[in-house]
């Protein structure tokens, strides 16, 4: 099967500082990859670079996504092509209701795909369905995006948006951080139910905890900007046992 995502020799950094020092990674449809590693290894940078965050610069390497040059696309084009990033620290947008935010996101995407706008009734039905999916209370729809949300509510909101946008490749950046067990279960359950043979996910995490709920097909260990080891789910237990410092290529 053709790869959904192919990263070759990716070097990237912020300002003059190189953070990713040669990443190779291939993700096939239907797979969940976990990227684990200590703080400062470059995990979040990888997610940010793939999503096209403007303050990061790619200095070498290539990324092909669905057969296209991902790095040549603007962030919104990557989104239209089905790439989704769940933010480690979701951003607040005062005065913009979650409903209006999602309406703007969905209509831009549909416009790009040459599809007509959803009718207000269709949109609201979809909104309600997906909010129920992550057990979000309906009053969140009229609240400003992430303003006054608790840490858990913010993460749940990310998964809600993921469900709304139905991505082909989801990158979950430390989605487990700051979540209590109940919230973690709801978030993980949401992600699992979105798993399909034709989509894929990259789960970035520091801890084993989330991977007890979202079982990955492939696990990578990222240290100092390089993938030092790749294996199956058993790697997770190895890390738990030995810690990151004991593991290398």
């Amino acid at each position: 099967m053709e790869n959904l995502l192919e990263i070759h020799g990716l070097h990237a950094g912020i300002a003059e500082r190189e953070i990713l020092k040669g990443i190779d990674l291939a993700v096939r449809p239907g797979q969940v990859h976990a990227i684990m590693g200590p703080n400062g290894a470059g995990k979040s940078t990888l997610g940010a670079v793939l999503a096209g965050r403007p303050d990061y610069t790619v200095t070498a390497g290539s990324v092909r996504y669905r057969g296209k040059d991902l790095l040549a696309m603007a962030p919104e084009e990557r989104s239209w092509e089905g790439l989704f990033l769940s933010f480690q620290y979701p951003i607040e947008i005062p005065g913009v209701s979650l409903t209006n935010f999602m309406k703007a996101a969905l209509s831009a995407r549909r416009k790009h795909a040459g599809l007509p706008e959803l009718s207000p009734a269709e949109f609201l039905r979809l909104l309600r369905e997906k909010m129920a999916f992550v057990q979000m209370k309906s009053d969140f729809a009229s609240r400003s995006v992430n303003v006054g949300f608790s840490g858990g509510e913010k993460k749940r909101n990310e998964i809600f948006q993921m469900a709304m946008l139905d991505p082909t490749l989801s990158i979950l950046d430390e989605t487990d951080s700051g979540l209590d067990v109940d919230a973690l279960r709801i978030v993980a359950d949401g992600v699992n139910r979105l798993r399909r043979p034709d989509n894929a996910a990259i789960v970035i995490t520091h801890y084993k905890r989330l991977l007890e709920y979202i079982v990955p097909d492939v696990v990578h260990i990222l240290k100092d900007g390089r993938i030092v080891r790749t294996g199956g789910p058993e790697l997770v237990d190895l890390i738990e046992e030995k810690g990151f410092s004991e593991i290398d290529g």
Partner: protein, 482 residues
């Protein structure tokens, strides 16, 4: 973000067209003869001509104010045409030129009362007074309103049909010599709207005035007078546009509002005068005086303004809170882009006891523009228990623009409570990226974020107006980021 600031492209200003219509003008320049000519063209009574000549004499003694945080181009007051009106068909003087109907139609302003199919009414009815250059061309729903005793007509008609009311209230809130531009307006004003809602009457529909500048080399000097008698209620909306030209055009209006005991007036403006091009050529110089008098006890006046147009805006809708327990609000969004300059705000003058006022000002600056909030809250010695709350927020887009705040608080009564809050923020790269990641392109994202920022004010506007205002904020920001 600075990297995203690109060469600013021409703004889309879809109202920038010119209507080809035969017009009559008075000669260029300003002197007593011109004033007499304007008065004669309008067939005015002697008292009004005297009013004008008195104002002209005062104006000649005055100098333009220089305290605004503005760089005004020199204005040659002798190089302006003070009266321009579309010619009426001599055989059918009551008929409106189809070109004018078409113009207002294009602007989305229905000046013919539309017939609705039985039971089908897609919009709320809005009565419109449409002013084209120096004259009012049509006022709709006059009959419907007259059944309730409400007078809504052009200023000129009011002078002829309701002279006692006009004489009683004209210049009672903004005295002739109040300021340089108000004096100029008092001397040369051409038309505008007059509205009177009698005692205890709740106006059944929104009233509105739409001001259109068309002719080149002219200025617009309209006069609006609104009176809400005891216990009356009305909501008034005002809109305006002008053609795109390389020259500056002057707009110096005066709006006076009188609110009697327990009456309630809501005044909303969406100001969309031509802002000039990206290099700062052309655009309207919007130098206006708007003031309301809450004369009676328990009266209430609410100002809501969305300012996106004009090369220069100099405007301070203000309220004099005279009646005990009277109250007023000022909600403002002022957006400047490219080379635009705005110095706008409000004055709340507390005279009566337990008077209350609230100011919410949201400035948005982009491009190379300068945006200032200027406000005065004055608590007079007799205003026991008065309260004011002011909130002034500034939002910056890019790093070439400026936001300034000049709040003045004068408190002369120890029992009064005055609060002031202010914030300045920038649209963050994080917010933009978050929107982009969800598929919202950069310009749309800025529009969304700005609309969110202005939401507290926008939600105060009547519904149709709010929809317009949202679109306008979006369009006005086009070209502000790359």
């Amino acid at each position: 973000m600075d990297d995203m600031l690109k060469e600013l492209t021409a703004q889309e200003y879809k109202e920038g067209f010119v209507t080809e219509v035969e017009q009559e003008f008075v000669p260029k320049g300003l002197n007593e003869d011109i004033i007499r000519t304007i008065s004669r063209l309008k067939d005015e009574p002697q008292w009004l001509l005297d009013f004008r000549l008195d104002a002209f004499a005062k104006w000649q003694q005055m100098t333009p104010p220089t305290w605004g945080h503005l760089t005004l181009p020199p204005i040659d007051f002798q190089d302006i045409i003070y009266y321009a009106a579309p010619k009426r068909n001599a055989d059918r003087p009551k008929e409106i030129d189809p070109a004018l109907v078409e113009t207002f139609d294009k602007l989305g302003i229905p000046i013919a009362e539309r017939e609705y199919l039985a039971g089908v009414k897609d919009k709320r009815e809005v009565a419109v007074d449409a002013v084209f250059d120096s004259v009012s061309v049509s006022t709709t729903f006059r009959k419907t309103l007259a059944e309730k005793g409400i007078i809504f007509c052009s200023f000129n008609e009011a002078v002829h049909e309701h002279p006692d009311l006009v004489r009683k209230y004209l210049a009672s809130v903004v005295p002739v010599g109040d300021n340089f531009y108000a004096a100029l307006n008092s001397a040369v004003f051409s038309d505008g709207s007059f509205c009177y809602v009698p005692k205890g009457v709740k106006c059944p529909m929104e009233l509105s005035s739409y001001f259109r500048i068309n002719a080149s080399g002219t200025g617009q000097f309209e006069r609006t007078l609104i009176v809400a008698d005891e216990g009356a209620q009305l909501s008034y909306m005002e809109g305006c546009t002008a053609p795109m030209r390389d020259e500056n055009q002057l707009h110096a209006a005066v709006v006076e509002i009188i609110v009697e005991k327990d009456a309630d007036v809501k005044y909303s403006t969406v100001q969309n005068w031509y802002p000039g091009d990206a290099q700062g050529r052309g655009g309207i110089l919007n130098l206006v005086t708007k003031r309301g008098l809450c004369r009676g006890a328990g009266s209430h006046l609410s100002w809501t303004q969305v300012e996106t147009g004009s090369a220069i805006t100099w405007k301070y809708p203000s309220t004099v809170l005279m009646g005990d327990d009277s109250s007023s609000e000022f909600y403002s969004v002022a957006l400047t882009n490219n080379m635009q300059q705005a110095d706008t705000g409000t004055k709340m003058i507390h005279i009566g006891r337990r008077t209350r006022s609230r100011i919410v000002s949201k400035g948005i600056s982009a491009g190379h523009s300068q945006n200032s909030y200027r406000g005065l809250v004055r608590i007079n010695p007799g205003a026991s228990g008065a309260r004011n709350y002011s909130q002034c927020d500034s939002l910056l887009i890019g790093s070439q623009c400026g936001a300034h705040t000049f709040p003045v608080i004068l408190g002369a009564n120890p029992t009064a409570v005055v609060e002031h809050e202010a914030t300045t923020s920038k649209i963050s790269e994080d917010q933009l990226f978050y929107c982009n990641q969800r598929g919202i392109p950069p310009e749309e994202a800025v529009g969304l974020i700005v609309n969110g920022y202005a939401q507290e004010v926008l939600q105060r506007l009547p519904m149709e107006f709010a929809v317009e205002a949202r679109k306008l904020l979006q369009v006005s920001l086009e070209g502000s980021i790359g």
